[in-house]
Amino acid sequence: MTSRRVSGAAPGIVAITVVAGTGMAAVVATSVGLMPLYGEPAPSLDGWRSAAPDLVAGIGESLLIAVPATVLAALVGFLLATLMLGGGRAASVVRLACLAVLAVPHLVGATSVSLLLGDGGAAARLAAPAGVDDWPALVGGPWPVATVLELAWKESAFVALVVLAAVAPGHRMRMQVAAGLGARPVQRVLRVLLPTAAPAVGAASLVTLVYAIGSYEVAWLLGRAVPEPLPVLAFRLFGSIELTDRPAAAAAAVTGSVLALCIAVPALATLPRLRALSTGGAP
């Protein structure tokens, strides 16, 4: 009976292993010329060589988008969770709003943000009466402001709900005990709430960071043309009419995956230490 129960996990795990494993193996093989769309396989690093300058710039642009978006999402998400921890009808309204934002497709969010922050957008219209005639290029400008804000907006709702789910059980009791022991409000936040929320904030931030590195549509719609973040670069080269661009596209995809793994693996190893903060014991 036990072996049958254990095998229950297998179909899902096998599907993930086969699909993700095949996909990654194929994209690596394509990047080194072993899986050309047409013709005979010919091992070559030409794809990597031709994409190298763009890859370096792409890593920089991806991090320039993902890191600020994650920091902002973590900060706002934590504040939203703190508001919801207060309880009551208002907390329910904020929770429902967070759930609604979570359900919004990123592409819809990016479309709306472009209508909000773009040239002739709602923000520019609001600023015009105040004499702001030269609306800054927040969409497609020198800094990925709109891209960062869209990702931070949607992911802040995710962070808030994750933190709320982790911290809400026993929150009131912990705060009452801390207050009973003489902790001031600031001390309760810094020494009770923050350590309790740290593992959830860390885990949700990691998911956000990795997602932002791999996200295509937001940067594609709201970002600048040059340099491109890795997903946008990979997608453009993949759709190129030059078949020789395929290995370069695959090289960009592999670089994006390695970047995500380089961040996720050490961070996952660190999370138990964060968890120890909340329990006050060993990981």
């Binding site: 904020v94 429902l96 609604a100 359900a103 002739g120 015009a128 907006w153 549509e217 995956s257 996720a264």
Partner: protein, 272 residues
């Protein structure tokens, strides 16, 4: 909750979507007017002419297909994780993290090359890949539900004469039904919302609502039509999530408290 905090929170969450709501009802909106000069449904007419209805139906079908594949696979995995029936839970958890860590476009790009050679239809490929993306969500949601439900339920049903299949379908599944519905909803959202995998693997043949919106938003210049498409793509998932959240909240207020996972007998668990 302080009123200022509530107002700021709602402004942060709602303002980014406001332009879509206004533009979707605008017939004419010249710069720098704060509100449209004329209201109307021209955007909706243009969106419909571009094929919005069919695109929405394709998105619905894709979402349902992904939910139909990813939910049972996730529930099976969640049961094993939640009831600690595996000797290698860390391996299962690590493999479940793979679709969350690896960028979907990278996997899709590699898989596209393979699928062209295999000759698998684009629709099947898209459903397969998106189901894999959705499995972690369905598995973790189910695992949480199973951790709250004692495996004694299944044992007792078996002791009363139920077959393993009957015990699962008639006793265990109804006990975790709410969470399974949430898992299915999450999987549906993955299918409904996807853009890049559908475009890459679907080869532009599978025009879902996000694919149509992406094409319009990147180059049509018709803001009213783009906003109409965006609003039509936005409403179904938001409505579903809102209804689900309200129903779950209602059922929690009347249901008895969940069993703690500690009630799982030690002999039913496998050692880590």
């Amino acid at each position: 909750m302080p009123v200022v905090g509530l107002v700021l929170a709602l402004l942060w969450l709602a303002v980014p979507l406001a332009p879509v709501l206004v533009w979707a009802g605008a017939e004419r909106w010249s710069y720098p007017d704060l509100l449209p000069g004329a209201w109307g449904v021209v955007g909706w007419r243009d969106a419909a002419a571009a094929g919005l209805q069919l695109a929405l139906l394709r998105s619905l079908a894709l979402g349902l297909a992904v939910a139909a594949v990813a939910t049972p696979l996730g529930v099976m995995t969640g049961r094993v994780l939640g009831w600690r029936l595996t000797g290698r839970p860390r391996l299962v958890v690590a493999l479940l993290l793979v679709p969350l860590v690896l960028p979907p476009f990278a996997v899709a790009m590699g898989l596209d090359v393979v699928l062209i050679r295999v000759g698998l239809p684009e629709l099947v490929s898209v459903v397969l890949l998106l189901s894999v993306v959705a499995i972690p969500y369905t598995a973790y949601t189910s695992a949480t539900a199973f951790a709250r439900t004692s495996p004694e339920l299944e044992v007792q049903a078996r002791a009363l004469g139920a077959t393993p299949r009957q015990a699962r379908l008639r006793v265990v599944l109804p006990a975790v039904r709410g969470s399974i519905l949430v898992a299915a909803l999450l999987a549906f959202l993955v299918g409904w919302s996807d853009y890049v995998v559908t475009l890459l693997v679907g080869g532009g043949q599978l025009v879902t609502a996000p694919v149509l919106l992406g094409a319009a938003a990147s180059g049509s210049g018709n803001d009213a039509a783009v906003a109409s498409m965006a609003l039509a793509t936005l409403v179904p998932p938001v409505a579903l999530v809102t209804v689900a959240a309200l129903r779950i909240r209602g059922s929690r207020s009347t249901a008895p408290p969940d069993r703690p996972s500690e009630s799982v007998p030690e002999q039913e668990r496998m050692h880590r």
